[in-house]
């Protein structure tokens, strides 16, 4: 025989369970990897995407100017000749948060992306390729900035 109190307790537990399960898809929907974008260092940001130790590689290419006059608009391109690359990342080492952009590579697109980034100051810029088998390869280039793009 169940008392009224026990019944209430049970239904409360069930409701709690429902609430938590309802929350799961919501957090899954918010796929944006905030942790990676808040990471201060290149290594931390790479780790957030499942990358391991960074290895320099000739198969990853970073294109950008040697000197950027305006740090608010620095054209940066990443490309790779490797097969089986899952993510391509652009990182600026001395920005408040290193990670600029992450591109998911699929079979339907060439692993070659070009975009424009903001740079607070002269810094090394990294192009990182994370392969499906967990290898993390990078190329870097120093870009000098005459006028910072994160100023206030």
């Amino acid at each position: 025989m169940q008392t009224r109190r026990e019944t209430l307790k049970q239904s409360g537990a069930v409701a709690g369970l429902l609430a938590t399960t309802a929350l799961i898809p919501q957090s899954a929907l918010a796929a944006f990897n905030a942790k990676a974008f808040e990471a201060k260092s290149v290594a931390d940001a790479v780790k957030a995407f499942g990358g391991g130790a960074l290895v320099e590689s000739k198969d990853v290419t970073l294109t950008g100017p040697d000197i950027a006059e305006n740090g608010a608009v620095v054209p940066i391109g990443v490309s790779t000749t490797l097969a089986g690359v899952k993510h391509l990342l652009i990182l600026v080492e001395k920005n408040p948060s290193a990670l600029v952009a992450k591109f998911d590579v699929s079979d339907a697109v060439e692993p070659n992306f070009l975009t424009r980034a903001k740079m607070g100051q002269s810094s090394d810029v990294y192009a990182v390729a994370i392969t499906a088998d967990g290898k993390t390869l990078y190329a870097k280039k120093e870009i000098k900035v005459t006028l910072g793009g994160c100023g206030g």
Binding site: A31, F32, N33, A36, F37, A72, V73, V74, P75, G77, V92, N95, P96, S97, L99, V100, A101, K102, F103, D104, V105, S106, D107, A108, V109, E110, N112, F113, L114, T115, R116, A117, K118, M119, G149, C150, G151, G152
Partner: protein
């Protein structure tokens, strides 16, 4: 609602080069206004591209992508007349989709 994107897709050698210019403030969350208060971050977080309705590329962006972002990528096997759609979503939940035809 944000302004429309400018998308240009050109077929060349069996692939199509897609260039997108989005219209967005891309506020970093680092800047301060005249009274010294930090301006909250407002930037595009997710960009997806689809080719004839099939998703081909997704990207996640931080606030360090430049204002009015530019993006160039290449879609394999896209030919003239194909449709390329680009969708972005920002951290305020605003979203916009625009479509272009490969020329």
């Amino acid at each position: 609602m944000a302004d429309p994107m400018r998308i240009r897709a050109q077929a060349a050698g069996g692939n199509a080069t897609v260039r997108v210019l989005m219209s967005h403030e891309m506020e970093t969350g680092q800047r301060k206004d005249s009274s010294g208060k930090t301006i909250p971050a407002w930037h595009i977080t997710e960009v997806t591209a689809s080719h004839n309705g099939k998703p081909v590329m997704t990207a996640e962006w931080g606030p360090a992508v430049a204002k009015n972002p530019f993006l160039q990528f290449t879609v394999k096997g896209a030919k003239a007349g194909d449709k390329i759609a680009i969708t972005w979503k920002d951290n305020k939940g605003d979203t916009r989709t625009d479509e272009a035809v490969v020329s």
